[in-house]
């Protein structure tokens, strides 16, 4: 069995982002007297978003992606999800970046679904390229239909789905 983990450098950057965001949003909401009510609501909403992001980053620090001959599993302190390779029915590879994004500023998300289980991994995972390549081969082997966006993204990553 092979075990993949999220890159600690990327997680440290995410933690820094979360903390900065929390400080910038919760700070004024807590510290400013006579703050306007709508501004306070927006600050708290954003602070909640950054708090969820921080929690998720902490959880990722303890997350393992376990790859075996038969299945892929995601394990973290809260739960374990396993999906057999043969059960995978839906594969999606999405790329999130702003319209004017610089090189390397986007995030790839690989979603695998089947048998009532859904597994999502992101490109900050070590050896994400290898995993994507394996999934592209799986799509070709098992004849899994993918949407044009996913097809395009596998092509752009250099792992085209060859039928």
């Amino acid at each position: 069995m092979k075990i993949l983990r999220y890159d600690s450098g990327a997680l440290a950057k995410d933690a820094a982002r979360g903390l900065i965001g929390l400080a910038v949003t919760a700070g004024p909401a807590l510290g400013v007297e006579n703050i306007l009510r709508p501004v306070e609501i927006v600050c708290w909403a954003l602070a909640a978003l950054f708090a969820v992001f921080l929690l998720r980053t902490a959880l990722r620090h303890k997350t393992e992606i376990q790859l075996s001959e038969d299945a892929i599993a995601v394990q973290n302190p809260l739960r374990r999800r396993q999906l057999k390779w043969s059960d995978i029915a839906v594969v999606k590879l999405s790329y999130f970046a702003s319209a004017k994004a610089r090189r390397g500023s986007g995030v790839l998300t690989l979603t695998l679904r089947g048998g009532g289980t859904k597994i999502i991994v992101e490109s900050s995972l070590k050896e994400f390229d290898r995993l994507a390549e394996s999934v592209a081969e799986l799509c070709a082997r098992q004849g899994i239909d993918v949407d044009p966006t996913t097809m395009h993204n596998f092509d752009a990553m250099g792992s085209p789905i060859r039928r």
Binding site: D7, A10, D14, R17, G18, I20, G21, V24, P28, G31, V32, E33, N34, I35, L36, V39, L46, L49, F50, V52, F53, R56, S94, Y95, F96, A97, S98, A99, A101, R103, G104, S105, G106, V107, L108, T109, E122, S123, S124, F128, D129, P148, T149, H152, N153, A156, M157
Partner: protein
Amino acid sequence: MLDYIVRRLLVMIPTLLVISILVFVIIQLPPGDYLTTLIQEYQDRGEQIGEEVLAFYRENYGFGEPMWKQYLLWMKGILLEGNLGYSFEYELPVSDVVGDRMFLTILVSFVTIIFVYIVAFPIGVYSAVNQYSPGDYALTFVGFIGLATPNFLLALILMYLANEWTGASIGGLVDDDLRDAPMSWEKFVSVLQHLWVPVIVIGTSGTAGMIRRLRANLLDELHKQYVVTARAKGVPPKKALFKYPLRMALNPFIADIGNLLPEIISGSAIVSIVLSLETTGPMLLRALETQDMYLAGSFLMVLALLTVLGNLLSDLALAALDPRIRLGAEATK
């Protein structure tokens, strides 16, 4: 997606800080400041301004201090006290001066954006699907007219025609007797009755541009191989249009939201003057002329915030609609 949203939100903070510095520096560029203008006005009238008034302004607003100190004073007010500053021209807090005008501006802008999308979307799709038909030619002609006509000229033409045919003046956003009244249901209804003119005037060029872009993008998609294959395999025409080509063609349509919002608010200043609209445009112009720095600065910061928010919204919508790796971009490892 959460990663992406958090990153985009964090990028907004330094962006807005840099914009605030630029705004402040540009407002301060002309020689003198509001205080020197005020002293000059008093001298022109043969009067002397009281020393205590000058001392009050200097102490509270940092006149005479270096520009960076004045900037920090302004930012401290905005960030720590939620205070946009004081309008020297109106002798009122900026938030009180802006009040109703900001609401009316946002209302006009919002309705204009809805108008642009509602009109442009079906026409753009029709023109692309029925390329080179008489309907397409007619709509293309109207579209070019809309693109080529300046908004203020359209406003003048509409005002002239309305006056010529009905004898009525279509300027303003409310009935004259409600102009200075506080916002009420009656005033709101009056605003809605007057709204159609500025919405058409401000929205026409945006609508025409949107139609052209959507038509061109959809035509590109409709000629791609996957659409030809889908048709050849007998996929119904509507499904072959709506399933993927239309979604792909919408990308620039959605990316435009970011530019549309500030463009409509700032670009409508001249139209607002021509149509005597009680929006923020004319007030911004006056604030810049008189170097009413907090009022002008707050306006420009609101515009900047709208631009940044518009870009955020369009980026999020684009990411949800079409999460593709674009040329020149590369995912993080």
